[in-house]
Amino acid sequence: MYIYDQYDHEILRQRVAQFRDQTERYLAGDLSEAEFLPLRLQNGLYVQRLAPMLRINVPYGMLNSTQLRRLARIARDYDKGYCHVSTRQNIQYNWPDLDQVPNILAELAEVEMHGTQSSGNCIRNVTSDQFAGVAPDEIVDPRPYCEIVRQWSSFHPEFAFLPRKFKIAISGSEMDRAAIQVHDIGLQLVRNGSGEIGFKVLVGGGLGRTPVIASAIREYLPQEHLLTYLEAILRVYNLHGRRDNKYKARIKILVRAMGAETFAEAVEQEWQHLKDAPSTLRREDIERAKSYFTEPDYQNLDDASAQAQLEQQASDNIAFGKWLSRNVRQHRVDGYAAVTLSLKPTGIAPGDITDTQLEHIANLAERYSFAEVRTTHEQNMVLADVKKTELFDLWQEARKLGFATPNIGTLTDIICCPGGDFCSLANAKSIPVAEAIQRQFEDLDYVYDLGDLDLNISGCMNACGHHHVGHIGVLGVDKKGQEFYQVMLGGNAGNKASLAKVLGPAFEAEEMPEVVQKVVNVYLENRTEEELFIDTYQRIGIAPFKERVYAKAS
């Protein structure tokens, strides 16, 4: 994991001091509401429906146990004893007091954390794959590059007042788990014919009101040019992105208006001037970044015997077996596995976690996984380096603590934004709908049999719940002051990214569990042996679903 040196600490200390001063000026009436707005946003502070909301960056999802304990302490001392894992791998506090925020940021700075650029019209926290460094399908570990981009984008003087927010995601594996096709910039690490490392560069993807799959503007960018090329893209966007209408201000609209090819040419032209500038990465700069992400102290383990033991345990204990197949993933290193802790038991808002739970996870991380955890954009947490021989013990502990719901990747592992309960932009509540659907599908065996099924819920068009890329997407809409829910089908995140299609007229909240049940029934009746929901949908199309859901009661 990256470790701060005196430079990082100094920069962050200055940032906290700056924001403390800004907050004091605002409270004293010396800084207007309008002027304070972007300043507080760039430190993570929103003013929400009920209270401020503070978003803390978790750089590319990596946390250590010390940081977890500090997050827990902050939840206890400054909030109502819990926080929330967001769909961008970040942590959110829903009830801090405005005047305490500088103190919270100071506490975070001590453990190398911050809320810098976690909102506002600037370059946001770079996101990545929660299985970075351990996934068997990894081509190159994306984390050193994430850290390089994190430093470059933090406090970037030229790009702090962009037309709109700007999100970068980096994936280093064959399977895209970072949703790079729906980011402003998506970077795919690749190797060229001679084995050298570079990036395929995608631009202009995004969800929100106008969901778009990104366009590739460069098939291979040698790694040393990463920063100058990003700078060229951002400069073209900063100068030419629309500023007259906030709904048309994202880079995807610019790319679409110019055409991807013309946009690529504009970037290329700009880049010709920036290329080979001192921001070009030298071998030693990349090596230095890599030195922070070396392998932990893996032991030489006998995979075959560990595997045999696991199989035995799984057949002795069906519940363990289910957990094993849903919540545990293959690891690159023999004898190890990656475990997802579910933060989605029924009845808890997806991604919510209490102070004591955070501390329990810190304990688990220390005991089983080199004291590190990762947050996921599906709003769960991952212990990435667990010995297979210890999985059974871990499962028993996690189960007692409520983190072992074997629902990862299933229908009840719902991605859900905070929605109308917290968010001032919401058209409708999202959490109660998630809960109602979870209750409809309480039978774990049934859910387990359904297999991979992503259900994503957003409370408005801003799409924080990524509803466009859910196999089943749910969008809260407002009709004459009443909350309704639009259902979409067929979205997909990852390599085969696709955007969901609207099923038909929206529903009331009470109807939602039944509607989802009908959709699931159509799948069950039509699926072949090996088909997942998305496969069946792609084969039979939306019509049979539509027919069933909107059939007149006879």
Binding site: Q14, E35, N121, Q151, W152, E158, F161
Partner: protein, 167 residues
Amino acid sequence: MPKLVKDGAIIEDTWQRLDKPEGEAAEVRVPEGQVIVPLSVWQAQREQLQARSDIGVWIDSDESAYDLGNDAQSLPLVAVNFPAFMDGRAFSTARLIRERFGFNGELRAVGGFIRDQLCYLSRCGVNAFRFDDDNADLEKAQQSLADFTEFYQAGVDQPQPLFRRRA
């Protein structure tokens, strides 16, 4: 006389700035003395104005540094305008003026920018700050220039990114 912050000091502003013309840019009468003219006026009257040494040019946020281009090098002053402080195009325009077009004179921010942007603006090459608001507290503004003393990225002030300077 109104004041501004230049090179970290508070001094009197001896320049006057012409608004964008309502009519033809070629028709605008540019007065005597130190005058900052809109880019359109510069373009329309380049021949005459080039003969003077007391002409500066201001670039609005929807205008391009490329339209001034290398002309910048012959000018004593170039200004970048903020119609509103959230309009961040001036940050890029300033860098282009300095880094692409090699301008070494006074690069001035004008318009509705705020104190909290000074540190970043100076990293983009701006060395003079003339607030629209004549009552702005320039001493406080001066202090904001030092909000940060260390930076990750390359800038006009420090062309070497931190990763090349780290021990």
